[in-house]
Amino acid sequence: MMCPESVLVLLAVCLPLLYPAMALRAEGARAMRYVMPVLPLPALMLALGAEPGWQLELPWLLNGGLWAMDELRRLFLLLTAVLWTVAGIYAVGYLGDHHRRRFCVFWGLTLAGNLGLTVAVDVGSFYSFFALMTFAGYGLVVHEGTDEATYAGRVYLVMAVLGEMAILAGLLLASAAADSQLLTDLPAAVASASQRDLIIALLVAGFGVKAGLPLLHFWLPLAHPVAPTPASAVLSGAMIKAGLLGWLVTLPFGETALPGWGALMIVAGAVAAIGAAVLGVCQRIPKAVLAYSSISQMGLMVLMVGAAMADPGRAPVLFSVIALYALHHGLAKGSLFLSAGVSLPAGIMRRAAVWLLIALPGLSLAGLPFTSGALAKLAMKEGLSEDPLDFALAGYLSPLMTAGAVATLLLVLRYLWTLGGKLENRRNPPMLAAGWLASVGVSLVAFWWMPWEVEGLVKSPVWLPAPYQLWALVWPMLIAVALAGLTLLVARLVKQR
């Protein structure tokens, strides 16, 4: 007999997968957009309600399917489901008449892929869902049909296909080495495989395309801004994390020390974190700034991945930190992206409230105390603190993280600055506003009741940082504000000249 989790997981994946069938009939097509927020609900229930540990065997699927959930997957699933839900609500209000049916179809397919890959444990279905998400995501990217969108789509597609192929080759090699079709068997096999470095290179590069690794990131600042706002939110919030998840489940963490790879990843992470910020502050389009911010944030996560690779002993701890950070970043970034599409209402108080709600998730990203960001940043600091780590570059991690924090806030400020010039004054469609508010709420409030567990960190209801931690969080922010103010001043002076 099937247990409720099995039913739920099947529902979670199949509901969005079959949702495009509504497009076949005219009545269905009209009703399609109202269904969008409902699609991720089974997944949400699964992530919140079911205890990790269940598994569902699907022996007929591909080369033998196995879907299951552990702590890591649960957080990713949660992030995905929540973000898609709020973005779905938002989309109901956001969507115009332009090719609405097509957008809904690709929305459903992308969602199915994104949800499926988080629960898939066998190589076949994992890769299938990954590919589904990638290719259906193309439909979201080029939706607007403008020249920029088409160009971005082309770059996205080329990079994605290259990535897919790298993943295919990597998975093939890994699975042959493991003689198994299960992801869970891969890390150990990769660690001892004769072609270890090749496999790791392929997987890092393959998933790195999705995760916006430097030099593989070109598509990201192009694609995220041109996509419709709800799509940008899920692209930047949830789908980018799929690459991260791919790393976490395939690379040989905790099996063996890979100092070379660890160093490489740390360098890559540092370049991403700082470099993206430098590029990002030069952008004029709000969403492009956010896209660079995503790269920068992913860079920080890559730092942790690198550390986990280099030091097998710390890997389990870092895993939960990475998951927490991903959750935090996904929710906050989703909210920020959604805010790019809101309009300013009339009335000074209301305007101030809107600005506040736009700014808060951004500040949370930068690590404002009492936000999820502060928690994540501290957890990261804890995880990467010098003492327990044992490899060459460990000493550079702390300054890098600080620099990252500065960069983050600079980007957020830049975003608010550019947004200020763009926001229109009119009423928000109710569903759009509801979606955005929900995203802010989730990011700021609901986060505390989510089932994350990180060793050494206090959980909900309210987490209070210790004073020394407070200072550690705040001083990079102050530097950033100072820098921003300075820039503004210089800009004014230059303009007056």
Partner: protein
């Protein structure tokens, strides 16, 4: 003789008799002809299903008699032949349906359907042939019965293509005949046997065996469109869409590939072939063809020519799989025999639909066709993604199995070829898919026709959708018993432990 012995004969005769009946029917007898066509296709499918079940349980179907002194005419159903027979039976049914719609009001329908049935009878014969001699018999019959289909339009271009086709295939046939006769001189009549015949061949005939192998592959390679023998295939695209579909998916190119499979597995034996050292060069050739076909496809502007070059590339997957020493790779090659058939026929059906409904022949004209013909375009998209090897479609199963097989056989370079080939596939298929769905139509269609509610004629509408669904299903359900993959594994199991 028992009924079992006669079942293959019946399967063969259904389409043969259908062909003769159709030739005899007057041009105007539309309903009767359609009924005969579909009836024969259904009967044949039924017979094949019965035999599949029988072969699965280990029943021996076979009939044999001496035809020319020293050589037998032998029909036999083993797991491999059933794979090919099933493919041809299923796709024949669909293609018949499609062709009925496609040729709705064109002249010479009796001739067309007559040769069409003959063509399928030959394919069936190729599938069920019990020795090389019988195989050759049907192989040549296939050449002849497809020629009238290729030149069906009767235009100068069609006739020119037909000529090229004949020059290639008949020359290939002659080379094949030489090889078979030589082999016969060396070893006598060789029935197809699991494990092959030459595992302990004397060292002094090794050279002859290698030469014969080269000749055999050269002869079969023409139909399989292996580089540099592929020149006829893109030209033969002037044929009507159902013909192209059948040629590419089932009949001609597959006959060549199937022949190579037979030679390697059931004449030489995989181990003997490996010992003779002929597999590795063949694998290289196949790999090169895979890439070459894709590179050529990149620069095509006509949809069907693009698909033709894609076939050149795809059929070599089968050959490559055969050359991988080891059960997994072999299964990958064999399963592609079916997968490629299903996917390619989908694409050709769609190409035909675009041509018939909107008059689209060139890729540039396809902008926005997805809105006008969503069903067809969906099928096309699935087919194209399948070709690229996107999971969980049929093509992915092939690629995955082939890749695993290559690794098991320590031929790691194959992975690179697979990846490169997929990239190239993506490079020429994805832009088309983009055009279909994301471009605005540029004005009016070249030549639009309308049929009632559906986007196109119902006879044309359903076959590609069905094959597209099959593309998904054989991929997603690859691990079910009787799925192509499972069947290929069964064949390989019997081959490696005869």
């Amino acid at each position: 003789m028992t009924l079992n012995a006669w079942l293959p004969v019946f399967a063969l005769m259904t389409s043969l008799v259908a062909a003769l009946v159709i030739f005899a029917l007057p041009e105007k007898g539309y309903r009767l002809r359609t009924a005969v066509n579909l009836g024969a296709a259904l009967v044949k499918l039924g017979l094949v299903v019965v035999m599949v079940w029988g072969v699965f349980r280990g029943v021996d179907y076979g009939v044999s008699f001496t035809m020319v002194p020293g050589v037998a005419f032998a029909l036999k159903a083993d797991a491999l032949s059933m794979m090919f027979a099933t493919l041809s039976a299923v796709l024949w049914l669909l293609t018949t349906v499609y062709a009925v719609g496609y040729l709705e009001d064109s002249p010479n329908r009796s001739r067309f359907f007559g040769f069409f049935s003959l063509c399928v009878a030959s394919t069936m014969g190729i599938a069920l042939a019990g020795n090389l001699f019988t195989f050759f018999l049907f192989y040549e019959m296939l050449t002849l019965s497809t020629y009238p289909l290729v030149v069906h339009r009767g235009t100068e271009k069609a006739l020119k293509a037909g000529r090229t086709y004949l020059i290639y295939t008949l020359t290939g046939g002659a080379v094949l005949l030489l090889a078979i006769a030589w082999l016969h001189g060396v070893e006598g009549d060789l029935p197809f046997r699991e494990g092959g015949h030459f595992i302990d061949a004397d060292a002094d005939i090794h050279l002859s065996l290698i030469l014969i192998f080269i000749l055999l592959v050269a002869g079969l390679g023409v139909k399989a469109a292996v580089f540099p023998l592929h020149g006829w295939l893109p030209q033969a695209m002037v044929a009507p869409a159902p013909v192209s579909a059948l040629l590419h998916a089932v009949a001609v190119v597959k006959a060549g590939a199937f022949g190579i499979v037979r030679v390697v597995y059931n004449i030489y034996g995989i181990e003997a072939s490996s010992l003779l050292g002929v597999l590795e060069p063949l694998a290289w050739l196949a790999a090169f063809t895979m890439l070459y076909g894709s590179v050529r496809a990149l620069s095509q502007v006509a949809l069907k020519r693009l698909l033709a070059f894609s076939t050149v590339s795809q059929v070599s997957y089968i050959i490559l799989g055969v050359c991988l020493f080891g059960p997994v790779g072999a299964a990958g090659g064999l399963v592609h025999l079916l997968h490629q058939g299903i996917m390619k026929i989908t694409l050709f059906f769609c190409a035909g639909n675009y041509a018939e409904t909107l008059g689209i022949h060139r890729i540039d004209d396809m902008d926005g066709a997805g809105r006008r013909m969503p069903g067809t375009s969906l099928a096309f998209t699935i087919g194209a993604f399948g070709m690229i090897g996107v999971p969980p479609l049929a093509g992915f199963i092939t690629k995955w199995t082939l890749g695993s097989g290559a690794l098991a056989a320590n031929m790691d370079w194959v992975i690179a070829v697979l990846v490169l080939s997929s990239l190239l596939n993506a490079a020429y298929f994805l832009p088309i898919v983009h055009r279909l769905w994301f471009r605005e139509p540029n004005g009016s269609w070249p030549r639009e026709r309308r049929w009632g509610r559906l986007e196109t004629n119902a006879w044309l509408f359903w076959p590609p959708l069905l094959t597209a669904v099959m593309t998904v299903v054989v991929g997603v359900l690859a691990s079910l018993p009787f799925s192509p993959l499972s069947w290929a594994e069964l064949i390989v199991l019997r081959e490696y432990s005869p």
